[in-house]
């Protein structure tokens, strides 16, 4: 048996050169909280691991004019301790606080969470609802991909074997917006049976009227997704009980869940209906508490 090789580049240029050189034989390792479990159980068997830990430029949160840019090696703990994240994207803080357990949050990273794309991960629905865009780099090119186009299937993304995730850009929500992430799981450290993120941008003139609503779903399809039909149905509408219930029902119809030992597909779908309704109610309450969206 050939021993697995571990390489630890010191710069982005070096890492991208290695990505190009080793292609499919190599896997990049971020926090390792999921990848090392897959390795131990022989579900994956790369000849080479490219350790991204030494690439300091990939870790940290930067404020930008219209939002913020988060490096993929930023840990969940970093996100939770960042005043910038709390101020500019409290929805991301909410979702980050639900990831795994303390030990996993201490080492797990935002980039690993996205690239691993395990169903039930907490950050994707929140980042989808925030309209995040990711920047991918290879030795030859840089491209930006809206997160909505990033996920391809269970454990699959659009990242090619010569690319690395370089940054996650999160636009700031307009003033008065509110946002809620709800996770349904049996035990706190589990992946979500269903995870729902809702961003509500209320109409300035009319109480309870949604100028825009965004609904991110996790754990209920082969990829995390936006419930765009449900969003269209309530855009511009008065969010009364009937409209909120309808949004939940439409979102549930957009989910395409699987059955696994944690929950049946049918149960997951029902939970989407419940959580979407609760998240919208929570977002309305948050808006009204903040004094926005009142007539």
């Amino acid at each position: 048996m050939i021993e697995r090789k571990l390489i630890r580049p010191d710069s982005m240029a070096e890492a991208l050169g290695q990505r190009e050189q080793y292609g499919k034989d190599a896997m990049p390792i971020a926090g390792g909280q999921s990848l090392l479990v897959l390795l131990r159980n022989k579900l994956i068997d790369p000849k080479v691991l490219i350790d991204l830990e030494r690439l300091g430029e990939l870790r940290g949160v930067q404020r930008q004019a219209d939002g913020m840019s988060v490096g993929p090696m930023t840990t969940i703990y970093d996100l939770l301790s960042s005043p910038e994240v709390r101020a500019a994207a409290p929805l991301l803080s909410q979702a980050a606080s639900k990831v795994g357990s303390t030990a996993i949050r201490n080492l797990g990273t935002i980039g690993g969470n996205l690239c691993h794309n395990e169903p039930g991960a907490d950050l994707p629905p929140a980042l989808l609802a925030l309209d995040a865009v990711v920047e991918l780099r290879s030795r030859k090119a840089t491209r930006k991909v809206p997160l909505r186009e990033f996920f391809r299937g269970y454990f699959e993304t659009v990242v090619t074997p010569d690319e690395l995730l370089y940054a996650i850009e999160i636009p700031t929500l307009p003033g008065g917006a509110s946002a809620v992430y709800l996770k349904h799981a049996i035990s706190a450290e589990d992946l979500a049976i269903a995870g729902v993120a809702v961003v509500l941008i209320p109409d300035e003139q009319h109480s309870r009227k949604a100028r825009e609503i965004r609904i991110g779903l996790g754990g209920v399809a082969s990829v995390p997704l936006r419930a765009s039909k449900a969003e269209s149905a309530v855009r511009g509408a008065v969010l009364n009980d009937v409209a909120i219930r309808e949004a939940g029902e439409i979102a549930a119809s957009e989910a395409d869940p699987m059955t696994d030992p944690h929950a049946s597909a049918e149960y997951r779908r029902k939970m989407v209906k419940v959580l979407v309704r609760r998240a919208i109610l929570g977002a309305i309450e948050q808006s009204e508490r903040n004094g926005h969206g009142k007539a």
């Binding site: 021993e3 090789k5 571990l6 090392l36 479990v37 131990r40 159980n41 350790d51 030990a103």
Partner: protein
Amino acid sequence: MAKLKLQINGEETEVEAKEAALLLDVLREGLGLTGTKRGCETSHCGACTILLDGMAVHSCVVLAARCEGKEITTVEGLSEGGDLNRLQRLFLKHGALQCGYCTPGMLMAATALLRRNPRPSLEETKIGLDGNLCRCTGYTGIFDAIQAYAQDGGK
């Protein structure tokens, strides 16, 4: 194979390990530090919890090579002059263990919590220990021991 220089419980140690070896394997098989328990090996149960630069981590999902230049603390590093430390004695007093398998991990997670937050509320204590499973005590004794430690400020 690679030669790793690790700082464990205040001492510099050299050990031979595979390049992509996991810290748990290096601690137990490479160095005979069997206080750190092998549990689920999927980062759920927390039996293998150790401190890495003071933070609680599951050593079954940590590359040993990444630990060079960092401070590792295992349960063996808690005792003071060969005696149990105060937190360990409070675990005994409050019946915070039965079979004892989860105990090293619980102690390490509690140590990390108390260093960061010397007076955690019960809720904060539960969050601090959310990566550690116990299948026999029902947790109450463990929370009691930690709360007792916090109330006395560790004295």
